[in-house]
Symmetry: C2
Subunit: 135 residues, 2 copies
């Protein structure tokens, strides 16, 4: 704390493994039920998207959850909401520079999960079969 107090420009050491560190909450928001999908959809689209376009891409999300999740990641500086003053107004959501940085490992993670899914399903089956034999 002394370093931080004496030099406010110095970055402090965030530690997601500490329950008191705010970074843990950010990790939870970013990897939440819907935010990872929204952020990766925006990265893949490579351009801002309208609400309805995100909703179509993220199959199964409700208007309420999409609006709530967008609000949360906008607050964290991950997406930016732009209102174009057309009639009717045209609203778009895009990734910030921070949002792009965060979207990259999430996109990699999703790619791995998709390509490894057959192995995961086989592991689940083997585990459940072994479990059945034990009981």
């Amino acid at each position: 704390m002394t370093d931080l107090d004496s030099d406010p420009g110095r970055s402090f050491d965030a530690d997601v493994f500490s329950r008191m560190c705010a970074s843990r909450g950010v990790l939870q928001h970013v990897t939440g039920r819907w935010s990872a999908l929204i952020v990766v959809a925006l990265l893949e689209n490579n351009a801002p998207m309208r609400f309805a376009a995100i909703r179509r891409r993220v199959d199964g999300i409700s208007d309420r959850m999409l609006s709530q999740t967008l609000g949360q990641i906008e607050r964290e500086g991950i997406v930016v909401r732009t209102v174009h003053s057309t009639i009717p107004p045209h609203v778009e959501y895009g990734l910030t520079a921070l949002g792009q940085k965060i979207a990259e490992p999430l996109t990699a993670l999703i790619g791995i999960i998709e390509s490894e899914l057959p192995h995961v399903l086989a592991a689940q089956k083997a585990f459940d079969d072994a479990d059945e034999r034990r009981s």
Copy 2:
């Protein structure tokens, strides 16, 4: 489905954006409240860990949540539980090859969140201040 039926060895196309695809559930488990931290702790440790060592590293996790989360990611083939037949038996949890693949982008994500935390906190403050001015 025709391709899949005619050639069972062929991998199918998983799509996390489809609500029906099992990959979405795997993404949710892997990025769940505790699993990301456990998987990254195991990767950083670079060797299997005992239950108590994981619990110490993942500050704030209860025995019950750790045991439940380890069971879930063991079922998905991400960690492997090894019982060494010493007296008393010595149990360790380590990443599988799949677990290592998954842990890498999660480690990158956590690194970004930790190093960008000051920007996230500044964005939250700016958002809340603007919100207050509007109300």
